[in-house]
């Protein structure tokens, strides 16, 4: 194929700007997921209080 042409068989070719946006989005998603884990952990400890360790095994 010639310069500047996109062959459908080549799949999707991302521009540098698109790659940057998708990379930033992936990082943001990872940070949000990490923050959610921390959030649920802290809220669980606060809500259960000392009872968090007081469970029958």
């Amino acid at each position: 194929m010639g310069d500047g042409e996109n062959d459908p068989d080549d799949g999707i070719t991302l521009t540098p700007e698109q790659i940057r946006r998708r990379r930033n989005r992936s990082i943001a998603l990872a940070l949000v997921l990490g923050a959610l884990v921390l959030f649920f952990y802290v809220v669980t400890i606060v809500k259960l209080g000392p009872g968090v360790l007081n469970r029958p095994l």
Binding site: E5, I12, T13, T15, E17, Q18, F39
Partner: protein
């Protein structure tokens, strides 16, 4: 085959249609900033602030972590409402100057992405608030999202010039949700806070709509100035301002706000009323737009001042109560 790069094709598509025209099937180019914009961060900040006041003035104590978690859920719920609103209103947003750069009309986010984002945030925020705080707060948040996204956005906004009067309830719920998160109930105090924002909304938005009447008309949105005319709108603004000014003093009169709040609400309400009266008297004479702008700008300051003074006063009282009497509580 096209000689344009995917990016250029994408931009050209936007330029031709004013909406997204993706060059490649289902490729998302939305960035983090686009999803942030979908949540209407400025609206979110007002929601967080008023909900915080609802939590702070509520009786009893709420663990700071639970209070923060509740606020976060309320904020995310507000963001969900914003995303769902932008998903449904993309056609209107594309026509109006103020909104045409929003992520969907600008072509950065696909409508389906915004819908999925909004629904996910809505469900997540309601469920987590129910687990973190209580079922009443979660139910109120769910109703608020439903009211804003469905009752206001899908129904009232395009149907009646009373759209923002009834729809204003959605923006008035956050302090009530905050109160419910802290107490598990709905007190008269939280109803008063709700009523203040409810009656504040019409003069605030109608002052803006006087300045943007042509755009609303072009977009087919039946705002009051478009349907009933500018004189009727100015009269309605004055009527709602006359209801709002005394209502603003109610927290002091009912005893759940102190003297500083009482003075702020009295003086602030008087200025609000004076600006509404000036707008009414100016009519279509030169200076009408300036009067509308002044009222719009002042209305934001007024609401912020009321809630800020109530919050500061409450915190000072709690602090003094702890220092002088060794008691804690809101």
């Amino acid at each position: 085959m096209s000689l344009m790069t995917p990016s250029a094709e994408f931009d050209a598509g936007i330029a031709r249609t004013g909406a997204a025209s993706p060059p490649q099937a289902e490729l998302s180019v939305a960035g983090v900033e686009d999803f942030v914009a979908l949540m209407k961060p400025r609206v979110m900040s007002l929601v967080v602030f008023t909900a915080l006041v609802g939590i702070a003035v509520a009786p009893g104590t709420l663990h700071p972590v639970i209070g923060f978690a509740s606020l976060l859920c309320i904020a995310i719920g507000a963001g969900a409402s914003g995303a769902l609103n932008m998903w449904y209103d993309a056609d209107i947003d594309a026509v109006m100057t103020r909104t045409r750069q929003r992520p969907i009309p600008a072509g950065h986010v696909k409508p389906g992405e915004a819908l999925g984002f909004g629904v996910t945030l809505a469900i997540g925020s309601v469920v987590v608030l129910g687990l973190v705080a209580n079922v009443l707060a979660a139910a109120l948040l769910a109703f608020t999202i439903f009211f804003y996204a469905v009752i206001y956005t899908m129904w009232l906004k395009r149907w009646t010039p009373q759209n923002i009067v009834i729809g204003g309830a959605a923006g008035a719920f956050p302090p009530m949700i905050g109160w419910a998160a802290a107490t598990g109930s709905i007190g008269i105090e939280s109803v008063i806070l709700f009523a203040i924002i409810f009656f504040w909304t019409p003069p605030h938005f109608w002052a803006l709509s006087l300045l943007r009447a042509d755009e609303y008309s072009r977009a087919g949105v039946p705002m009051l100035p478009v349907i009933a005319g500018r004189d009727a709108t100015r009269r309605q603004i004055l009527i709602y301002s006359m209801l709002l000014a005394p209502l603003g003093i109610a927290p002091y009169a009912l005893g759940f706000a102190g003297l500083a709040y009482g003075v702020t609400a009295t003086v602030g309400g008087g200025v609000f009323l004076a600006l509404a009266l000036r707008l009414f008297r100016t009519g279509d004479a030169p200076g009408s737009d300036a009067a509308a702008k002044a009222l719009f700008g002042y209305s934001i300051l007024y609401l912020f001042a009321l809630f800020a003074v109530m919050l500061v006063e409450n915190r000072v009282q709690v602090l003094f109560g702890q220092v002088l009497f060794g008691v804690s509580g809101a």
